[in-house]
Amino acid sequence: MINVRTLEPGTRVALTDGSTVEIVSNPKDGIWVFARYLSSPRDTSLVGTEEMVFAQDMVEIQTTP
């Protein structure tokens, strides 16, 4: 399980729906991060957009800065 509080900007994370996001900023509330979509098989229009990403949607850290 990922400790969301420790994710630094630039970290790439895989989500439950197969998307990959890059952390933009982390409020360190342990629940949300601000992230930019790098890929999204579910909805390609999300790529490049920034969204708040929920902790339980994050499954794996892919790379760290």
Partner: protein, 455 residues
């Protein structure tokens, strides 16, 4: 915000004309529940000070009545006051006293709010809500009106309440005595240190009444005066202005605010003060000199304890502070005390004042301890079945109030009681309860804004 109901306070439980007030208004749980609605949702309440949230994202968790609220500065530098309660299931979205954050996130289910109050994050918005939830309808609940006055932040839940300046009326001049720089420049104060918070087992109106102008209880501070905690080495504060000036109790019947004040003779300089420290004494001597130049005759007025209706106490001089009496049930009050100082005062002055302030006020302050003991035992001894049958007496000075008071060419705003010779009066206390009863009886601000009906 109209409230239906019958009148039972004015002339009933609160008989100001006879100078008698029922103990029920202090100890009844039913009346307490009613005043939360009728007083605390309609009046303007003190929330905090801008200097507590200087940067975007800064927040300070405060209170309005029993409600926890968040005072914060959003990313666009706008100041907000929000109810500290998630719109989903009510959990507090902020459980810290103060800090800086980009979002307030509810730890229960994870709803998250931006610092402008907008609902920004809803877990499983697409999946569980099928993107159907109208997030714009579920931002944090924001106060109906907010005013920043000389750095202090005030708010009300009532959209029909008059503006804060109208609510103040001419009492504004006395509030300024606490908020302006000591040399008379407008504003210029900041909060010194943190906010002291503590609980007292008494109804909130005991301290509110005391700060309204109860100088009769001076005897209970005699031990502090004997210890000599004052900034010049004797008494509990510098009191020489009492010996040469007029000692006044001033109230505003249509607003419910009241305060004490001293007026110095026109030819006399302000007596020296803070003589335990040459640096501090010289700072205030210079300030007083500039104040007289800047303000003219009004520079002869020195503030004394006061109460801005309903639950904000002013202590404009020694110590210089603002207190809020947060209601926590009929039988408990949570006190929050902010200490103020000229923002540009030298560090040595601020440090001297900090040490004097905490010697005097707060849970460890010797003077405030005397007061707490009185309120605690007075409340406890008023709860019994027999005790409740006997109203308190507020007859002192009844009928001796003076309107359009003037001394040595200076007119003093408000209804004034000159207590220089009589030593004490309870007319400010009666004024507080008169207004409280009006709030409890009135159905709307149309009734409460009595000054608007004057020709």
């Amino acid at each position: 915000m109209a409230i239906a109901g019958k009148r039972r306070y004015t002339g009933g439980l609160v008989d100001v004309a006879a100078g008698q007030i029922s103990r029920e208004i202090f100890v009844s749980d039913e009346i307490y529940a009613e005043e939360l609605e009728r007083v605390f949702t309609r009046a303007w309440l003190f929330v905090g000070h801008e200097s507590q949230i200087p940067k975007p994202g800064d927040y300070f968790v405060s209170g309005m009545g029993e409600e926890s609220v968040i005072l914060c500065r959003d990313r666009e530098d706008r100041v907000h006051v929000f109810l500290n309660s998630c719109r989903h299931r009510g959990m507090k979205v902020c459980r810290y006293d103060e800090g800086n954050t980009p979002v307030f996130t509810c730890p229960y289910h994870g709803w998250s709010y931006a610092t402008d109050g907008k609902l920004a994050g809803v877990p499983y918005f697409r999946e569980a809500y099928h993107s159907k939830l109208d997030r714009s309808q579920f931002g944090l609940v924001e106060v109906a009106q907010l005013e920043i006055y000389k750095g202090t932040v005030w708010a009300t839940w009532d959209p029909s309440a008059p503006s804060f300046l109208e609510y103040l009326g001419e009492f504004r001049r006395y509030l300024d005595l606490a908020l302006d720089a000591w040399d008379g420049r407008e504003g210029g104060t900041e909060v010194l240190g943190g906010v002291q918070k503590w609980l007292i087992p008494c109804n909130w109106k005991f301290p509110a009444e005391n700060f309204s102008g109860d100088s009769y209880h001076n005897i209970s501070h005699r031990s502090v005066d004997l210890v000599g905690i004052g900034p010049s080495g004797s008494g509990r504060r510098d009191m020489r202005e009492r010996l040469i000036g007029r000692r006044l109790q001033i109230c505003f019947p249509d607003r419910g605010h009241q305060t004490g004040a001293y007026v110095l003779p026109s030819e006399e300089p302000t007596p020296p003060a803070y003589q335990h420290s040459p640096v501090v004494s010289e700072y205030f001597r210079r300030c007083e000199e500039q104040r007289r130049e800047r303000l003219g005759a009004w520079g002869r007025v020195t503030g004394a304890p006061g109460e801005l209706f309903p639950n904000t106490a002013l202590h404009p001089r020694q110590p210089r502070s603002i207190a809020v009496w947060h209601p926590r049930g009929a039988h408990r009050t949570e006190v929050w005390r902010w200490y103020l100082v000229d923002a540009d005062a030298p560090p040595e002055v601020k440090d001297f004042l900090r040490q004097y302030y905490i010697r005097y006020s707060g849970p460890a302050g010797l003077t405030e301890q005397d007061d707490m003991e009185n309120w605690n035992y007075a409340h406890a001894a008023s709860r019994g079945t027999i005790a409740r049958r006997h109203p308190y007496s507020y007859e002192q000075g009844l009928g001796f109030e003076v309107e359009n008071y003037e001394w040595e060419g200076l007119r003093i705003p408000g209804t004034v009681m000159d207590v220089t010779d009589s030593k004490s009066s309870e007319h400010n206390l009666r004024n507080f309860y008169r207004r409280w009863a009006q709030f409890m009886d009135a159905n709307s601000w149309d009734e409460l804004a009595t000054w608007r009906r004057r020709p």
